[in-house]
Symmetry: C2
Amino acid sequence: MAAVSDPTETATAEGGARQANQAFYRALTGLDLEGMDALWLHDARVVCIHPGRPALLGWEAVRDSWERIFAATRWMHVEPTNVGVGILGEMAIVTCWENVTAQADEGVGIASVQATNLFRRVEGSWRLIVHHASHVPLDATPSFEGEPQ
Amino acid sequence: MAAVSDPTETATAEGGARQANQAFYRALTGLDLEGMDALWLHDARVVCIHPGRPALLGWEAVRDSWERIFAATRWMHVEPTNVGVGILGEMAIVTCWENVTAQADEGVGIASVQATNLFRRVEGSWRLIVHHASHVPLDATPSFEGEPQ
């Protein structure tokens, strides 16, 4: 924990985690399974939750889901905004708003998605271990307002 | 990381994280703000995402949301099932299916919610740092089936 009390060290860690988060959305937009392979930790403890779906546990199930999503998608553009990063030792908690435009067989769709991405620093690289994405109404604002549902 | 390679140590950590997860759902069912106070890490980096809502960042905003939810709810019962726990050093990644029955002003409702709960071990206690909850269809199964949306 000593390292994270150093502001310079924390800033460097935040920058690295932001870059890893960008790499995730580049892989998503590029329908790039190899990009996902490089970014995710290949471990039985990783978790991925696609919008409206139950949790997938373990890299094998997670990779299989990306393969199927990419196969079913003609093109996709995902622009992350409102990116927040918190560093806790060797973990980075990243939250962002995913602005998604995608074409699948049934046509073009847009969506606003709230994501939590958790990265773990392994041998100097930030590897994705949790991705939880959930729909929010298109007319919502990224900041919290009003009564929770 | 040495500790987590010890199976006994990992089993103990898993047990502790499961107990902390149970404590979270007891606090939720009990509309117990003090229980939430005791469980969450009081830190600017904590994250809470209620179903269909944007992220709340920092303990102050998170606590305020629980206070408002509890004030607006007459009673609530939340039964976690399909609990999965992964230990990574001082972090525990817990996924579960929340079976929610609640009465608010507008009547009784039931919901199925997929949650990711992330705990960090601080001075021997597992403290909640991320709660991300998202609706899944009531007729879905907790295991992943079919094409992702």
